[in-house]
Subunit: 207 residues, 2 copies
């Protein structure tokens, strides 16, 4: 089955499965079932089996899934069995929280450079790797010279589109956008949005 035929929403659930498996591994577990995964994630076991069946046979009937095997397979499918260099733009509170987050490296990502347009922030050391914040003018060269394809935008809304444009022109193809604005990007570029308001608003509907 080619990639094109797998629905985006299925791909979107794989990182959630991966996260659940990593917790099971941390608990020292060896075997799990679609039932157990489903209970933990609030997803039906049938949905999990169906999602995984897009990519192959990962469990034996009646014996469940070998956790480490499934974990490794999903990491390969999602291509996070390697390390992706990431650029982060925005060194305010939010950028600082992102740079300080120590959950990226174990999951396939490492922030290689941090940029800001505020002269007061440039030159400061930031994040788990104590990176020196660089001026935004150096963003394009950094991306281009290091063949970086993943970027995180943590700027105010007004600046996000211009940052995205610079990123994309220099070679970025995946953007995680924290700015509360929908970015206009070519169809070859993927954007995922992190917007707390959207998360909150889709819950109040049910209150």
């Amino acid at each position: 089955m080619t990639k094109r035929t797998i629905p985006d929403i299925v791909v979107g659930r794989l990182p959630v499965y991966l996260r659940a498996l990593s917790f099971l591994i941390a608990e020292g577990r060896q075997i799990t079932s679609s039932q157990e995964l489903g209970d933990r994630l609030g997803i039906s076991s049938a949905q999990i089996r169906k999602d995984l069946s897009h990519f192959g046979e990962f469990g034996k009937q009646g014996t469940g899934y070998d956790i480490n095997f499934l974990y490794d397979q999903l990491r390969q499918i999602l291509k996070v069995d390697r390390m992706w260099d990431v650029v982060l733009v925005g060194a305010g509170n939010l950028g600082k929280a992102i740079a300080d987050y120590n959950g990226f490296k174990g999951k396939g990502f490492v922030i290689r450079a941090i940029f800001d347009n505020d002269p007061e922030k440039v030159g400061k050391l930031m994040g788990v790797d104590r990176l020196k914040v660089q001026p935004i003018s150096e963003l394009a060269d950094m991306i281009h010279e290091n063949n970086i394809t993943v970027g995180i935008i943590a700027t105010p809304a007004e600046e996000a589109q211009a940052v995205a444009r610079t990123m994309i022109e220099a070679g970025i193809r995946s953007i995680l956008n924290y700015a509360p604005i929908t970015l206009t990007v070519p169809s070859s570029v993927r954007v995922q949005y992190i917007d707390p308001v959207v998360g909150l608003q889709r819950m109040t509907y049910y209150l």
Copy 2:
């Protein structure tokens, strides 16, 4: 049509439409079309029309949508035409960034109290409203006495489940969870996850 029949994924797109409409309003625009909204959001115009048709007739054939009217209608549907009090647990870098974010109030949410279990953080003033960080021991009473139903968790993964339990027992029914862990909650409680790793991993698949 009753609420139960509207797919969760449709409800999930309404906040995104609302955000796009708010940008159009800021641009001084009066009328838009499903085509224009779709182009801005990377969603087909047919999808937008179908999503909105679940909730009523918002546009006239050939004349498009009155932006302010549609905006008001969606705010009512999502129940963000009122203000929801929110408690925030976790006053580290991430909690600080969330508390400082000035995009909640215009969208129906106001952080009323901030909690942390670190004595060094308790008592500090934080966020757009300069709230005094309270000890976590006061969380349940605060929620209960003020009938608060919305909570944000910005703690480390190890503490998130216990915080969620306290929140839910005290009356919280919607949780925005930044901790990188899937929470176990009763079916009456909704959780939305903010996890940058999940966002990044669902893009690397396509790289």
